[in-house]
């Protein structure tokens, strides 16, 4: 009901716009994202008012993007998984495991490329295990990925002996992803952008992406249409794991380390961003742009807090209120009552 109503309302909005404007608005500006963009704009206004000299500086904007890129990459994978009707709680832990594995002395001796490959392989491998357990072992995604979360953290601690592993100077190429800038932006922001763009294309322009909606929205229909739902589900978790691997490279670049403590509670942030972005937790509907906008809202909130030097307790209270306000603003009723 509510969805249909919302659809009707969106339709009305779209009709109210002159044709050209509608075209120009394009995907990002789709009615469903308008609320998010508004919320973001509102936060920007708050930033401009409270810290005019700091907020809108290019250095600060770069800082926001750099902060967003690690979780951002993870969020892209998470969007696939959630649209496909699953959930991945293991993202933060898998990222930590990949970062640790890629920075062991043994791996580091092969140079930065091998380190990067190692991170991606470990991430994808962990994702694949998730996928196999869920698709073929028939485990509930929540439980399978929770188990992976726990086990991956434990393994990361074992491998690293609970120590933080520094990237050796000869592998500084990895760190340069964070320090080298092109056109004012650190390289890792470009990687983030690349992952988003590729993710968007795969989701919206390939058969794989479109089938993801079917697998999440109506798995039985997908099966009857001849889609191998299990294999597809497995691949979705592999994608998420791949993204964790990429994120591991980024966090290594930013922190110059691999550590079993990296990515703590990233799963909550990523899921929250995806859902604020309008993806249904039950699957079948969603968008990557929305997820990224949702994530940016979180990042900007944090940035504003930092700039304004709020104390933690007040920050937490304010954050809770802002989340509620942002979502109310964005979509009274868009997603309906149920998760």
């Amino acid at each position: 009901m509510t969805e249909t109503k919302q659809a009707a309302r969106q339709g009305a909005l779209a009709r109210a716009l002159p044709g050209a404007a509608r075209l120009r608005l394009g995907r990002v500006g789709e009615a469903r994202h308008v609320g998010l963009i508004l919320a973001l704009a509102l936060l920007a206004v708050v930033g401009l008012i409270t810290r005019p000299e700091n907020f809108a500086t290019s250095a600060n904007l770069v800082s926001i993007l750099a902060l967003a890129s690690t979780i951002g990459v993870i969020t892209v994978g998470m969007t696939f998984v959630i649209i496909g009707g699953g959930i991945d709680l293991s993202v933060g832990a898998v990222m930590a495991l990949a970062s640790v594995w890629a920075t062991t002395l043994a791996t580091q001796s092969y140079g930065p490329w091998v380190m990067a490959m190692c991170a991606i392989l470990v991430g994808t491998g962990a994702g694949l295990i998730n996928g196999i357990l869920i698709a073929y072992g028939r485990l509930v995604p929540f439980i399978a990925t929770l188990a992976m979360l726990v086990a991956a953290r434990g393994l990361a601690q074992r491998i690293s002996d609970r120590k933080t592993q520094l990237i050796r100077p000869e592998n500084g190429a990895i760190v340069e992803l964070s320090t080298t800038r092109v056109l004012g932006l650190p390289l890792l922001v470009y990687i983030f952008a690349l992952v988003v763009v590729v993710g968007w294309i795969v989701l919206n322009r390939t058969t794989f992406g479109r089938r993801t909606f079917a697998v999440g929205g109506n798995p039985e229909a997908a099966r009857l249409a001849g889609i191998d739902v299990r294999r597809h589900t497995m691949l979705l978790y592999a994608i998420s794991g791949f993204c964790c691997g990429v994120a591991a490279i980024l966090i290594m670049a930013r922190t110059t380390t691999g550590s079993s403590t990296h990515g703590d509670l990233y799963e909550l942030d990523a899921i929250a961003a995806v859902i604020i972005g309008g993806t249904l937790l039950t699957g079948g509907r969603g968008s990557i742009i929305g997820s990224i906008l949702g994530l940016l809202i979180f990042t900007v909130i944090t940035n504003l807090f930092i700039l304004n030097g709020l104390n933690t307790s007040d920050q937490l209270i304010a954050k809770g209120l802002i989340i509620v306000a942002a979502v109310l603003l964005q979509r009274r009723g868009l997603v309906g009552r149920r998760t």
Partner: protein
């Protein structure tokens, strides 16, 4: 003791003992001190933040700029970046992890902002101007000596000694355990079982409840942190056990009151005082104003200052009680 800590109160208020009455406390050049620490979800860390802020408040020439405390490295890096952008005069940093924040601290130093490294140390000396912190290894040694000496006196031969750590992935935890082990070895003892908690009351209760079941007769327990110690004591009380004694860590007011009561299994605690944050802010101010420490001969603040870990027992607890932080 000769090592009378600088503050007369729980906070690091300036006091005569800490170079008060010298020129150093007089207003000087205006300085902006940036401050970043982990999220204050723990009594000790909360005391750190509070001590820093109160120390800053003592000086009219100090603008204190704390940033969002966080337990996420990625965010702490961003926080420090924003302080660099705001061009503070000096930074006081208690990193979540010294190694992971090393790069950004180095960037601050390179940008000409001196960094006062608080407690968890940066591996690279170019990343800080001065380090001030507690002696984690020394803390373990102090606890080890207390337990070792006491059990030796009783003539126990094969004692059951338990260790309840804080967060296991922190280097400071590992140092404490190392010191503890080394000190015990001197007495021919070793740790029977070791479990880690999360520095919270609740995790203390949970781990202790299970540990008490795992060992039917215990001789001594060292608990790294008095905050989680409240929970450990609750679990001990619940289990109705008292055949052993316990040593705490950090030096909270609660722990000291327990020791003072004389009826508790908690007989002793070894300090790791959050007053260091107040000192760090003071040092930061001195550095920014180009002053030295007036009790010292040198014109500049030293490169590194390590607090001593002291052993508090029923005998000297009166003296330390005012310094205990409320956990």
């Amino acid at each position: 003791t000769s090592n009378e800590p600088p503050a007369a109160q729980q906070s690091a208020a300036p006091s005569p003992a800490a170079g008060g009455g010298t020129d150093n406390d007089r207003p000087g050049r205006e300085v902006k001190i940036g401050f970043s620490a982990p999220a204050a979800d723990h009594g000790w860390i909360a005391a750190i933040a509070k001590n820093a802020e109160e120390a800053a408040k003592q000086y009219s020439d100090v603008t204190f700029v704390p940033v969002e405390p966080t337990n996420d490295i990625n965010q702490q890096i961003s926080a420090v970046e924003s302080l660099i952008q705001q061009k503070v005069d000096v930074l006081v940093l208690l990193p979540n992890d010294g190694e992971q924040l090393n790069q950004v601290a180095r960037r601050a130093m390179d940008a000409g902002i001196p960094v006062v490294n608080l407690d968890r140390i940066f591996p690279d000396k170019l990343s800080y101007r001065t380090w001030i912190g507690g002696d984690n290894y020394g803390m373990g040694v102090a606890a080890g000596h207390y337990i070792g000496r006491k059990l030796k006196e009783k003539g126990v031969t094969d004692p059951v000694i338990l260790e309840i750590q804080g967060i296991a992935t922190l280097p400071l935890t590992q140092e404490r355990s190392k010191g503890f082990e080394d000190a015990l070895r001197a007495y021919g003892y070793r740790v029977t079982a070791r479990q880690d908690a999360q520095f919270t009351v609740e995790s203390g209760t949970e781990v202790a409840t299970n540990l008490l079941q795992a060992h039917k007769k215990i001789d001594a327990i060292w608990n790294h942190d008095d905050d989680q110690g409240v929970g450990v004591l609750a679990a001990i009380k619940e289990a109705g056990r008292n055949e052993f004694f316990m040593v705490g860590g950090a030096g909270s007011a609660n722990a000291m009151r327990e020791i003072q009561s004389g009826t508790s299994v908690l007989e002793c605690t070894v300090t790791y005082s959050p007053t260091m944050a107040g000192s760090a802010v003071k040092l930061a101010r001195l550095i920014a104003q180009g002053k030295g420490m007036s009790d010292l001969v040198e014109h500049q603040v030293p490169q590194s200052i390590t607090l001593a870990s002291e052993t508090i027992t029923k005998d000297n607890v009166e003296q330390y009680l005012p310094l205990g932080f409320e956990s």
